[in-house]
Subunit: 221 residues, 2 copies
């Protein structure tokens, strides 16, 4: 439909046509899904309806995504994929693991496409808050990512002490917890849903961790 301005550049820096089509189909599916889910709710849209709107067969849908929940979670999943990628290459100076993870996630957020990613995350999270099965799916995905990240860390770094592996796992779990609380706050705020603000809030939430560890409670008056 919207033909590129340059018909056939001599040295094409882009991917081969087939790959570009796949990317576009995937993105169409994501955008259509977030649109429809936002309008009628997750359960108010059938896969058949979604596929018809996106002009693909149901069979094709399942070659791109594992489940109905999956397509709505794509923005977050892209982020964690980038996180793993950053973790794969970042240096291991003697910093604290948690700080290292925090910075890797910051870097990953920075790598997200500037056009519309934040909006898609926002739509996705708002949907998840209303849809138990989406929430469950997202949580499980984070857990799997945590395990992958732990594998990368074990392979690339030296974890001192007999409990080094446990410490790394706990640090990763902590990062996930911090990120989720950060997302909660970021999604809830009325305006200013930018990646930069997300990063800012991530560090702010992380700064509260020591207080959370020592926080006490008195009886209700």
């Amino acid at each position: 439909m919207t033909a590129e301005s340059s018909p056939t550049p001599p040295t094409s820096p882009t991917l081969p046509l087939r790959e570009r089509k796949k990317l576009r189909t995937r993105q169409t599916l994501i955008d259509t899904a977030l649109d429809l889910f936002g309008a009628h709710g997750f359960d108010g849209v059938t896969l058949d309806g979604l596929c018809e709107a996106a002009e693909v067969s149901k069979r094709t849908f399942f070659r791109y995504f594992d489940s109905k929940e999956d397509v709505a979670m794509a923005p977050t999943q892209d982020l964690w994929a980038a996180f793993l990628d950053v973790l794969e290459t970042c240096p291991a100076d003697g910093r604290r693991l948690l700080a290292l993870f925090e910075d890797a996630l910051t870097e990953a957020i920075g790598r997200m496409p500037a056009d519309g990613w934040a909006e898609r995350v926002l739509a996705s999270r708002r949907l998840a808050a209303l849809t138990p099965s989406m929430d469950a799916h997202g949580l499980a995905f984070c857990d799997r990512t945590t395990r992958s990240a732990l594998a990368v860390v074990e392979r690339r770094f030296t974890l001192p002490g007999p409990d080094g592996r446990l410490h790394a796992r706990l640090a990763l779990d902590l990062l996930v917890v911090l990120f989720h609380r950060t997302l909660d706050a970021w999604v809830t705020q009325p305006t200013g849903h930018t990646p930069d603000d997300l990063v800012h809030r991530l560090h702010a939430t992380a700064a509260e961790l020591p207080s959370a560890l020592t926080a006490t409670a008195g009886p209700q008056v």
Copy 2:
């Protein structure tokens, strides 16, 4: 079938017959499910098969459980229900929130039925490790429980400071993380799957939290 020895005690301390039957049906469903899932895998058992084995109609199954995953998660869910119950009544001396939660969970573990609960948890967790959809379901349930617990805490206790609510939520998230790592280790060990050992390991894992916060990593040699 197995009639009670005392036909009709004058002052019956037990629940009415109808309630007892319901309890028994529920427990039969759980035991049958864990048996069959353990033998053929979660996906190797259909609901129709499970219902036939438990001698109930599928319609009845869904009057007791929300989903196929739900029945296999019952042991853990019973624990968290008890946790909420303990939280509802425990005193709020000036202790740290995290310690308070840890003790409440310990108390909840102590309230679990001595006969077979540990075995059921073990079977349930081993299944969950092999079944993504069960894992997701369990994670989502923990998240919902965390929110319920936060509501109880906010209602019963005073949370000082503008970030008191965040601190409490983080402390609860931490407890869940600690519990999951504890379960990982407890399930993995070859023997000694007792509630007491679970409690012991919970405190041991919690003791590693400060180290996890400050842990560092060097480059791989």
